[in-house]
């Protein structure tokens, strides 16, 4: 294999950011034509930086890039696309009010100010592309009305429409449901059959195992190794990625649940469009128990969490915490009564990215006496001490307590949220998507911590789109479908088939 000439080679790439951070330390990768090449690493390992360099978004500090036999220096993404390299980012770059068609031809058709755009021809070309790949996208609907999975396809089409030979996908499955992931993989296989080269960036072992031909693992800005996927095992890749064997199964001792801490009675909640998102749910969470809610995203889980966390109106029904009616109470009251909430969207809700690490460390508890001085002003010394405690206890990698929290990697941001919520000393913890987009080591840490809270007799409500997570952690679990529970089961007494049926709306 090594005798072939690679279609793309990045040689000894070094990237030092202006603040002195060494993101890449001499990384070399080779990608061959027509393969699906995996780039595996934890959050913060340098995967995205490397690809941004390839795509012309960042300038390497040192190193060379060879593409189709000659050295290239891309000054911008437009440069890279013109040479045949396209990228689909983790966060989409679509104009929300434009239709799919408008988004795809944006910047490609009709250059001069008054030149006419040949919509008909563009549509025909796109239709051919879609037929070849056997996937369809509604071309005339504004993008904001389309599900995430479709939006991603639009991004892919956008690149294919520009005739790229190499397609970079940055964590493409992070936002997708399991079914959408399967569909994406089908598309990728077809593209490969057409001779396209695909670079698949991920930190999910199973996906890399399933879809890639070869995989290069990077860790802390260095290449750890490259293997043929057929020779690899998830355990091997995990070891390469984190430098030790990751316990992929959580150790959980049996634990006897105590009295009921949290209870919901016939809860109805409306969604943003006025639809009934939660339809008459009743359940309870006991002390020393993790109650999991699984299900395909968008079945009312978000609305349920927001309603019980005081962020959305309850239409009907009651919510109780330790026997007290807390329906309609505001977040501040709820926190003071012993609720903590790890929100599903850490960048838009759990943290204020522009504010410092220590300012974020007191979000939702800044009013507490322990952070005030004698003048009732915020005592930043105490706040900083608190932030440092969180950082130490949860082994958070942070450049400093006064730096903006956005300078932390995703996994460390999430750990900070978990640390902060736990430091509220709650009786009841809502953990929504607690490990989404988080690296393997942090995921393991957070999951073990939730189990520890349970062992300390706290009540934990876990809501996650990651079925494995719910299965591993929960003592009891419910599967949510269109605002209702299809069944409440014990994870070790249920088969995958039964869960699959319930996720598809078949009540058990």
């Amino acid at each position: 294999m090594e005798e072939r000439t690679p279609v793309l080679e990045m040689r000894d790439i070094v990237k030092v950011y202006s603040d002195g951070t060494r993101a890449l330390n001499g990384v070399t990768i080779k990608v061959y034509k027509g393969e699906i090449f995996g780039l595996l690493g934890e959050n913060g390992a340098g995967k995205t930086t490397l690809m941004k360099i390839l795509f012309g978004m960042l300038k390497p500090t040192a190193g060379k890039i060879f593409f189709q036999g000659s050295e290239v220096h891309f000054k911008s993404p437009a440069d890279a696309i013109a040479r045949g390299i396209g990228m689909v980012h983790q966060h989409f770059t679509l104009v929300e009010v434009f239709t799919a068609l408008e988004n795809i031809i944006l910047g490609k058709e009709g250059h001069g100010l008054f030149s006419k755009i040949d919509v008909k021809n563009a549509k025909k070309k796109l239709q051919t592309l879609m037929d070849e790949l056997n996937f369809q996208v509604p071309l005339d609907v504004p993008v904001e009305n389309l599900p995430v999975g479709i939006q991603q396809r639009i991004e892919i089409l956008k690149m294919l429409y520009r005739n790229v030979d190499v397609l970079i996908l940055d964590e493409p499955t992070a936002v997708l449901t399991p079914i959408e992931v399967k569909e994406l993989f089908d598309v990728l296989r077809k593209l490969k059959a057409q001779g396209k080269t695909i670079i698949f960036i991920s930190h999910k072992l199973n996906e890399v195992m399933e879809i890639t031909d070869r995989v290069t693992v990077i860790r802390k800005g260095k290449v750890i190794g490259t293997v043929n996927t057929s020779d690899a095992t998830p355990q091997l890749l995990a070891r390469m990625m984190v430098g030790r064997d990751v316990v992929l199964r959580i150790q959980k001792k049996p634990h006897k649940p105590g009295k009921t801490v949290f209870r919901v009675e016939d809860l109805w909640v409306k969604g943003d469009r006025g639809e009934d998102a939660v339809r008459g749910l009743s359940f309870e969470v006991k002390a020393g128990e993790i109650f999991g809610i699984a299900g395909v995203e968008g079945n009312g889980q978000s609305e349920l969490i927001e309603a019980i966390a005081g962020l959305r109106d309850v239409e009907k029904g009651r919510v109780y915490l330790m026997g007290k009616d807390i329906t309609g109470k505001k977040p501040r009251e709820l926190y003071d009564m012993g609720i903590a909430h790890i929100p599903e969207d850490r960048t838009h809700m759990g943290l204020i990215l522009e504010m410092s690490v220590m300012e974020n460390a007191i979000l939702g508890m800044y009013w507490r006496r322990e952070f005030s001085n004698g003048w009732r002003l915020i005592d930043w010394g105490k706040v900083e001490g608190h932030a440092k405690e969180l950082i130490d206890e949860f082994e958070i990698v942070a450049p400093g307590t006064r730096r903006p929290v956005k300078s932390l990697s995703g996994g460390n941001q999430q750990k900070l949220i978990v640390a902060r919520e736990v430091s509220k000393r709650p009786e009841f913890i809502i953990a929504a998507q607690p490990t989404r987009g988080v690296d393997v080591a942090s995921t393991e840490y957070i999951r073990n911590y939730l189990v520890k809270l349970r062992d300390e007799d706290k009540a934990v409500l876990l809501v996650s789109a990651d079925l494995d997570e719910v299965l591993q952690l929960s003592d009891r679990m419910a599967i949510m479908y269109e605002g209702q529970f299809m069944g409440v089961v014990k994870p070790d007494e249920v088969t995958e088939e039964q869960i699959g049926l319930m996720m598809g709306g078949v009540s058990q």
Binding site: A309, H348, I352, L363, Y366, L377
Partner: protein
């Protein structure tokens, strides 16, 4: 508290502002020269008029007083996610309030309190429109400024008009005036009030729970609500605090500036400070302490302008230089460029 770390945080905006000022002075010189004036003589006059003597410097500080206070209005808004340009109209009402109350209770404190309270009240329409009806504050404050202008002109000319001089309002009685800090100048205790207010605003913004709430809400209302903050209350407070400093600016301006101690025709002696304050705030990087310094700089430009006029350069040229400084601060691309040049020099 890590002193060097926080110092470094201040150093960057400070250097950037100083660079912008230098660029303003330089480009201003080119404009002067191109318009056929003697740039060197003009700048000499500016410096002489603003800092050459204690009296002149007092004049500088006096001119900076209302600017510091109106800049605080904009800064509070800007730090809490608002583009509040309502200071202009609020200043008029602050002045009217001080004139009015001093007729009934003639002492300085009552005037100051009245200015602050009326400023807070006049902030409410824009605040409530924003919070409950989603009206953008730029639209509402611009329109409210005009309402304030004509309302204030009417109040000045009908309700509070001086019986002896139809061109101005009744004067603030001597016992209600802010005492002068220096004889034969216009520098009064108003300047001290402005500096103290800047410090109070700094403490509110960065050392109180309210400040934390307002800033958090400005960055991300959704996260603020999650964090136990009432987003509506936080937004209303940032309008109200801004209104208070602008109202105070108006009050201090009539209570502290001799000889008239009254509002002149067409609100001439309280007009324009609200808008000038935006520039002062930008150059002071929307930071209360930075605003004290940039306020003094703009005060110096104002005080020196008179001298410059005597040197044969029209008053308006000072506004041109001010404008260039503000543009220089406001162009982030330019500053990034300067930054990169600096970095290349260092590495």
């Amino acid at each position: 508290m890590n002193l060097s770390q926080s110092l470094r945080g201040y150093l960057k905006p400070f250097t950037e502002s100083v660079l912008a000022i230098l660029i303003g002075v330089l480009v201003g010189a080119i404009v002067l020269w191109a318009s056929g004036y003697d740039a060197i003589a003009a700048y000499k006059a500016l410096v002489v008029g603003s800092v050459s003597s204690l009296t002149n410097f007092a004049q500088t500080l006096s001119q900076s007083t209302p600017l510091i206070l109106t800049a605080l209005t904009f800064a509070v808004g800007s730090r809490t996610g608002l583009f509040n340009i309502g200071a202009e109209g609020t200043v008029y009402f602050g002045a009217i309030a001080a004139v009015g109350i001093s007729q009934a209770i003639p002492n300085p404190l009552s005037g100051i309190i009245a200015g602050i309270l009326v400023g807070a009240l006049w902030a409410l329409p824009a605040a409530l429109l924003k919070v409950y009806r989603g009206v953008h504050e730029v639209i509402s404050t611009i329109m409210l400024n005009w309402i304030a202008f004509y309302l204030a002109v009417w109040l000045a000319l009908s309700v509070f008009v001086s019986p002896s001089n139809a061109n101005r309002t009744v004067a603030i009685p001597p016992s209600a005036r802010l005492p002068l800090l220096m004889r034969n100048t216009t520098l009064s205790w108003g300047f001290v009030v402005a500096v103290l207010t800047a410090i109070v605003v700094y403490v509110i913004m960065w050392h109180t729970k309210l400040g934390y709430e307002m800033r958090a809400n400005g960055y991300n209302p959704r996260a603020a609500e999650y964090g136990g903050i009432n987003p509506k209350a936080a937004a209303i407070w940032s309008f109200v605090i801004g209104g208070m400093t602008a109202g105070l600016a108006g009050a201090v301006q009539v209570m502290g500036v001799p000889p008239s101690y009254a509002i002149s025709q067409g609100l001439a002696n309280v007009y324009g400070y609200g808008f000038d304050g935006i520039g002062v705030s930008l150059v002071g990087r929307d930071h209360p302490i930075g605003i004290i310094f940039s306020g003094i700089l703009f005060g110096a430009l104002g005080a020196g302008a008179t001298k410059m006029q005597q040197a044969g350069v029209p008053l308006e040229m000072v506004k041109v230089i001010e404008g260039i400084i503000i543009v220089a601060v406001a162009i982030p691309g330019l500053l990034d460029l300067i930054n990169r040049m600096f970095r290349r020099g260092r590495v």
